[in-house]
Symmetry: C2
Subunit: 350 residues, 2 copies
Amino acid sequence: MVSRIEDVAQAAGVSTATVSRALRGLPKVSDSTRAKVLKAAADLQYVASPTASSLASGKTHVVGVVVPYVTRWYFAHLISGASEVLREQGFHVLLFDVGDEGPHRALLLDSRMLFKRVDAVLILSLRLHDAERELLRRLNVPVVTVGVPDDDWPCVRIDDYETTRQATEHLIGLGHRHIGYVGGDTVPSMDFPTPADRARGFRETMQRHGLTVSAHSVVMGDWTAVSGREVGRELLARPDRPTAVVAASDELALGVLAAARELGLAVPADVSVIGIDDHEMADLNGLTTVAQPVVEQGRMATQLLLSAVAGHDLGHEVATVPTRLVVRSSTAAPPASAAAVAEPVRASAR
Amino acid sequence: MVSRIEDVAQAAGVSTATVSRALRGLPKVSDSTRAKVLKAAADLQYVASPTASSLASGKTHVVGVVVPYVTRWYFAHLISGASEVLREQGFHVLLFDVGDEGPHRALLLDSRMLFKRVDAVLILSLRLHDAERELLRRLNVPVVTVGVPDDDWPCVRIDDYETTRQATEHLIGLGHRHIGYVGGDTVPSMDFPTPADRARGFRETMQRHGLTVSAHSVVMGDWTAVSGREVGRELLARPDRPTAVVAASDELALGVLAAARELGLAVPADVSVIGIDDHEMADLNGLTTVAQPVVEQGRMATQLLLSAVAGHDLGHEVATVPTRLVVRSSTAAPPASAAAVAEPVRASAR
DNA sequence: CTGAAAGCGCTTACAG
DNA sequence: CTGAAAGCGCTTACAG
């Protein structure tokens, strides 16, 4: 029923070696022979067994794509970009949705996951344990990471510090002086640098402009919109609430928007809100944001990876892609009354 | 460097056949022999080549998961459920993000995508072309679909008709009589039944209660929030706007919510809105919805699939999972004035 | 309980 | 330009 290369060889009256060469488009096959082989293969609906080819050639034409959560906006879009490029180049995607539950996540549990199974690995915004790094090294295939610079492998990312710097500058430029920050916490066990870098971008920009950041104007959520609402409520319910909020992601910012609505605060009349990412829902909700090209980062990383598969040496360079301020309707100048509400007044308000 | 079964056999002083049996936990290996083999394998950090095992055994332990768009909420969550179960059972996920661009999408372009590469295929809410069905049949592996009942293969789904029936009943129960519908259009070339079934659930429920559905109170978006806002605006800007809206998905409903805000309409005071899905953003925005268990459907379909891989005959039964009304703050009784706004008045309002 | 050997279906030097 | 043959690294009857 299912035809093998032997069947095609017989039908075409040539050797299996010739069939193999003809079908893969290798040179040194005469046109007439190639035509015969192609015809026979088509007649028999022949498709080479990828398993047998891989065993013989050592190439799988499969790339492992490792993510902590497929369901999150950022990761889903990275996967989309990666998978598009891989498909174009004739590669397949072996997806590992490993979760991020500290040391017990799946990648660690099973060294057989990737071994001898893939030609390359794409690590999407996952902070690796030492055991995992060691495992990846032993795989002996190219690796590219996205999101976090890495000592061992090339990386495609945005400048996290720069994102919150841009966001904060925007608000300061509008006249805000009392600005709050809704950050994203990291999983405790991971030393994922994004949360800290974004927080630093905020603080240092404020400082550079001579603006103070009080302890209670910085709150931390867990990157989800629901937590953004919760910590946003804390922040905005205070008598000395800020006139503007920088959120470390659009999801957090959307949560802050919801909190503002619940508190009866108008955006941007009473409070301005800016996020980071350019999520679809940001557009829908008129959220000003610092956009990052996520699908594009997935594509770039994959192109790097495939060039490494093709034999190019990538070293461990870091490609930083630019972010871009997208002004919508959630940011404006602070309310006129706010100008009067300076440090001393705030103090007395407590 | 990389060890083969032969190396382990030598180190343990047994044959490769015995190594193979011992490592896979087959019976009829003495405890002492098994211990020796396990020790040798561990020392050599041996991992069997999946490629070689597959060629020899005919099993790949890989399942193909085919989706139109990884980035959409529904699909990302299905993948998450599926991948969880597959990982638990020792299977790998080969992901095909094929897009849905009519007849040119990737699955069709390349019959080599799945051939001899997977032990089973999960088709996630994708309406198949005849050529694709034929291809899948020739694969000769179990197939399970999600979302759309299928003549050839088992399916896991929700009752689409029932979702909008529940939603519509909820609004009618609150006292609404003039209800609009924001539906989701299908890709023109596909005969995907969901849009039509949901629209029917709305219309027939209205009819059953003796309520009329005027032509301009039904509008169609493309399932995205952005289009929900656009068509929602059309619907709600009319002088004879409905007092409540059923949207065919939460994303559409969130768009309608945005449209209402832009038009200065209070929700639910001026207009009630209900969606379908129970998207995270629905919770955030207080959107009443008919929840469907998406991750769970992914899990169920995968369990079915794996039982088929294990040899069970599934026929082509359809498993319908229940949906559930989740009341939040976007629905309430119609405004008092609306009681007076009956058919004749509406007519004169134009 | 264990081993020798065939076989899975390709690819790839090596000859010619 | 083409073919015979070895080899990729496993698994699986078949004997014993």
